[in-house]
């Protein structure tokens, strides 16, 4: 069971960070509401097939005889141009948005974290090169690089996730690198080096676990921004493909009809807005409590 206790030990900074963040966040009513809404959204995503009245409408079924009906007790959010229940589609959209955002952020972490650890852990030329590369990536206005990449890769949700990961990883590299640089000089790392542990071992078994806490917190709070980016790409036709009930795609399609069918654009937009808002609220709070200078006692 040693591995388990080791594992828990490596997680401890993360857990403490989470506990602290959670405590500080929970003190503010706005943030408390946001936390609750996030929990609700996760539940909605998980239980989408049970919650939505017409789950098949979110997959492939169509129902043209009921097209573009306004909201009613039968169709809470009205129907779309093929008579599908928008409520069900928006519900399933939660699942898609959260899922794709998680994957995209995960991919970005996968690229960004090791690079950051290497840059911070090795220092020297490797550090310089990696950090200049992040500079280059960060010098594109956000979203622009994602647009360019997915335009070049071709439209699909997978490519959109990839594009986001490719444009997002430098943020994590920077955070990890900053942490790694300070940890590199700490006692236990020096000790490890003194007994001749190979550098890459040191980076990945000593430095990395100790730098993960802030980056994981940061990444989970980035989900709002990533959801917005995915929706924007889908809106431009560079993301999800029909009939996927992705929110951005729903809004994009609704453009043709929205002057007569206000509900078609409105509800998916509110869904994006609320989701991004709650993540941003938490993210903003976390930034404040993680920043030692604005941290409250």
């Amino acid at each position: 069971m040693r591995w388990l206790s080791d594992f828990i030990k490596t997680l401890q900074p993360t857990i403490r960070e989470w506990r602290l963040s959670f405590y500080l966040l929970n003190r503010n009513w706005l943030q408390r509401v946001a936390l609750i809404v996030i929990a609700l959204l996760v539940l909605i995503a998980i239980f989408a097939p049970l919650i939505s009245p017409y789950p098949s409408h979110a997959i492939s079924a169509t129902n043209p005889k009921d097209k573009l009906l306004p909201p009613s007790s039968r169709y809470l959010f009205g129907t779309d141009e093929l008579g599908r229940d928008l409520f069900s589609r928006v519900i399933f959209g939660t699942r898609i948005s959260l899922q794709t955002a998680l994957i995209a952020v995960g991919l970005a972490l996968l690229i960004g974290v090791p690079l950051g650890a290497i840059a911070g852990g090795l220092g020297g030329a490797a550090d310089e090169i990696i950090m200049r590369i992040t500079d280059i990536f960060l010098s594109f206005p956000p979203l622009l690089l994602a647009i360019a990449i997915s335009a070049f890769l071709g439209p699909s949700l997978q490519n959109a996730m990839l594009a986001i990961a490719v444009s997002w990883w430098p943020w994590y590299t920077r955070i990890i690198r900053g942490q790694a640089v300070s940890i590199r000089e700490r006692q236990f790392v020096r000790a490890a080096r003194a007994i001749g542990t190979p550098t890459f071992r040191i980076i990945f078994s000593h430095i990395l676990p100790n730098t993960m806490a802030p980056v994981i917190v940061q990444a989970s709070m980035d989900i709002g921004g990533v959801i917005l980016t995915i929706a924007a790409l889908s809106f431009l036709g560079l993301g999800a493909q029909p009939p996927t009930p992705e929110w951005g795609l729903l809004i994009s399609t609704s453009r043709t009809y929205f002057l007569n069918a206000w509900w078609y654009s409105t509800f998916p937009g509110i869904a994006i807005f609320v989701t991004v808002l709650v993540f941003n609220l938490i993210g903003d709070g976390v930034r404040e409590v993680l920043d030692p200078r604005t941290r409250k006692f």
Binding site: N28, W29, L30, R132, I133, D135, I136, F137, S139, F140, P141, P142, L143, L144, L145, I147, A148, I149, A151, F152, G224, L228, A231, A232, F235, L236, G237, L238, G248, I251, S252, S254, R255, F258, L259, W262, S265, T266, P268, G269, I272, F273, V276, L277, N280, L281, D284, R287, E288, D291, R293, T294
Partner: protein
């Protein structure tokens, strides 16, 4: 000081080179044949071969990149595959409309965002802070493309207050001579005293302006707030209070001046965001700017055009940040 600026400039140049390399790489890995597209449908293999040479695609990649860099230095972004016109020219044509929008939103960011941030910081953790925080985080969480539609729905469809799109009414455009001094309609009409055109342009820019402006307003408000809160924790603020200076002076005069540095960085940043947001909204508002241009380039798979817009936006973003940094660095008082 000089060293800092030099280093910053050098870094800027390295970054710009990297940006050029990255866009070049992106456009070259695309599984597509620009020559075939250039030659047009039903082109014979000979025509395609000719186009390949014409576009320099037969040369080794590093030669192509070198040529690409040289062209960039001369401000030449290449030719659009769809229209065969110079992309630089096409950008020049669509830029003024976009700049007009970006300027309006930046002005809004400064004149709405900063006061909002100050009020929020002053009343930290009070109701008004929560509300202003909700507002500013709210506006950055709004999908720009969606809020555009909603504004159209409410202010055009329901209330009939504003036009749905366009930069000027067609009638004005046809019946009146649109003055051309700088290419910015609002500015030109104002300096030439054409108030009818100016009002018409103003009336048309309201909805897209609000749509585009929301994000920077929120962003600047947030950043001002956190910059101020940080500054309000500084000793010299506590000291100022201990001298018996009023909160009003401490906040609006003392702390706000201290926050100019971070705030101007954020304004520069927000211009970059805004530029990209125009990609999402200009087509909704039939706004003849760069966003509309890239939207058609994406639809028409006009890689050089996409590359051109990308590199242009990245360049302006880098340069803006550079300027902001240097301005801050030049002011010795801010650098402590």
């Amino acid at each position: 000081m000089k060293k800092f600026i030099l280093r910053r400039l050098l870094l800027g140049i390295i970054v710009l080179l990297g940006v050029a390399l990255l866009t070049f790489f992106l456009a070259r890995v695309v599984p597509s044949d620009p020559a075939a597209k250039w030659a047009g449908p039903r082109a014979t293999p000979e025509q395609i071969a000719r186009a390949t040479i014409e576009l320099g695609l037969d040369k080794p990649l590093y030669v192509q990149f070198g040529k690409y860099l040289l062209d960039l230095l001369q401000g030449n972004l290449g030719y659009s595959l769809r229209t065969r016109r110079p992309i630089t020219l096409e950008l020049q044509e669509s830029l003024p409309a976009t700049i007009e929008l970006v300027l309006i939103s930046t002005i809004a960011a400064v004149f709405v965002g900063i006061p909002l941030g100050v009020i929020s910081a002053k009343r930290k953790d009070q109701l008004i802070d929560h509300l202003s925080r909700l507002f500013s985080i709210g506006v950055v969480s709004l999908p720009t493309f969606w809020i555009g539609l909603i504004l159209q729905l409410v202010f055009f469809r329901v209330l009939g207050l504003f036009p749905m799109g366009g930069q000027l009414s067609t009638e004005i455009k046809i019946t009146m001579d649109i003055p051309k001094v700088t290419g910015f309609i609002m500015f030109d009409s104002l300096v030439t005293g054409n108030f009818r055109i100016f009002l018409d342009a103003l009336w048309h820019i309201v909805l897209p302006g609000i749509t585009i402006g929301m994000y920077p307003v929120g962003l600047v408000a947030r950043m001002t707030r956190s910059a101020l809160l940080e500054i309000l924790n500084e000793d010299y603020i506590t000291a100022a209070r201990s001298y018996g200076l009023s909160e009003r002076i401490v906040l609006w005069s003392y702390a706000l001046k201290n926050s100019i540095g971070p705030t101007s960085t954020v304004v520069a940043l927000s211009i970059g965001y805004t530029l990209v947001n125009t990609f999402l909204t200009e087509s909704i508002f039939t706004w003849p700017g760069i966003g509309n241009y890239i939207a058609s380039a994406v639809i028409g798979l006009d890689y050089p055009a996409i590359m051109g817009v990308t590199i242009f936006s990245a360049f302006s973003y880098v340069v803006l940040n550079l300027i902001a940094d240097i301005i801050i660095a030049l002011d010795p008082r801010v650098r402590v």
